[in-house]
Symmetry: C2
Subunit: 239 residues, 2 copies
DNA sequence: GACACGAGGTGTACGGTGTACACCTTCGAG
DNA sequence: CTCGAAGGTGTACACCGTACACCTCGTGTC
């Protein structure tokens, strides 16, 4: 393709353009479908051209992660204190969650990063500051960060989340029968979440509510440890 | 390679042998390094021979997961009741953790499975039964399973877990300096975990203790919800 | 004992991947 | 006007998963 002779002088490549295009494609087609070749084609460019703006595919994904993370609102640590830290932590985590929810590939990308990127460290730093300003000591803060774990990022990896439904009525009936006899608890548990009238067997489970449930469990537990003067006195061991 | 002429009649391939070899290789070299070609070479066989025992690479990994999960001790639900469910749940999760710890590739394999395999469902079923026999209602059980999330499997995906240490003193000094000024909380939090005298900058963080900490937070929270008659009365919302 | 059959191992080939390397074009600074 | 570098191109390589046709046995049947 001639560059200028065809009439449309395309906008020159740039790191930002590469990253944005990659993010948009991953949003709609998934991270697996994103290859250097398809990305290059999207940008009307030859695959190797990408390498002038991105060191490797791994670095490309790092860049995508950084770009998305950069959209997180900066933490406002001004008035954070013993009374408010829990609410501030909660809302920040929920904000991160809603930001990441728009990019389904993020959870996997975050998990497979070998080293934390600066933006990841920024977010962790903000969380730690919230805890520390709430009055938690460094040790409890450390444990709390571990406990919150993936929740810091606004997601919990759900085992068996998606996957295309069978759709064949006979097939789902058979699956249900198998469930009923071999995994009745799983079946009951899955069913128990359908508060509203839903379709046949759809999950009908409010992910956001589940997330908040676990999040509150953790935050309350951390707070009660804190109130109990953790860890200086006898540490409360389970049963 | 002649089959019998060379003298050593190799043991014939079998699904179990394929799976075992794959597991052993993944244990030492990681899941990424495991390709059908290298696995075939390990078994002194041509790549396509594997497909007589395994439908696809995806199915191979499913089989590996099933094989490892099959080593989990069967749940003993006999005496589980309101007094003991929490301890039983705790010990089962910790048992699963120690089993999976010997196969570092498992956490990633579990997460990337599209649908839950039978052995996964077995384990979930056992967990659900423990909760139900403890007296928890189906709804609270459901939420608890979500809350426990990845912990059910005995691991928590740690952001920034491993990665080869820089080893160059100058480099780590520079990293430390950058940390101190930009991510002081992260630095403090990382440092706070080194209870014993450790090497220069090693993590020195007791993963098992962290895991148990979060686990207890969740279990205690679930129990307190249960005691409070959850969810029938006014649900305790944070703040 | 002859023979067919099917399970299991082989060889070749195809379309995909990431990316190293040499090349060419273009444009702005001196 | 020149020159050097930044950025886009083309070719090539090694590797991946796996479809398909083939061959080679051990075994059950007549």
């Amino acid at each position: 393709m001639a560059t200028t002779a065809t009439g449309g002088a395309r906008t020159p490549l740039s790191r930002a353009r590469v990253l944005d295009e990659a993010i948009g494609y991953a949003d709609t087609h998934g991270l697996d479908a994103l290859s250097m070749r398809t990305l290059a084609e999207l940008l009307d460019v030859v695959p190797m051209a990408l390498y002038k703006h991105v060191r490797s595919k791994e670095a490309l994904i790092d860049g995508m992660v950084e770009t998305v993370l950069a959209t997180l609102p900066a933490a406002d640590l001004a008035g954070v204190g013993p009374e408010s830290w829990r609410a501030v932590a909660r809302s920040r985590i929920l904000a991160a969650r809603s930001a990441l929810q728009r990019h389904p590939w993020m959870w996997r990308a975050l998990e497979t990063r070998a080293a934390p990127t600066p933006a990841m460290l920024d977010h962790m730093e903000a969380m730690i500051q919230i805890l520390r300003r709430g009055g938690l000591g460094p040790v409890l803060t450390h444990h709390a960060m571990h406990a919150l774990g993936g929740r810091i990022w606004g997601f919990t990896p759900e085992v068996a989340s998606s996957g295309p439904a069978p759709a064949d009525p006979a097939e789902i009936a058979a699956a249900m029968a198998a469930m009923r006899e071999r995994w009745p608890g799983v079946l009951e548990s899955a069913m128990s979440a359908r508060h509203e009238a839903g379709s046949a067997v759809g999950p009908g489970c409010d992910d956001d509510a589940e997330f908040a449930f676990a999040l509150d469990l953790l935050l309350e537990g951390v707070e009660s440890r804190h109130f109990a003067g953790w860890p200086s006195p006898a540490r409360a061991t389970s049963h």
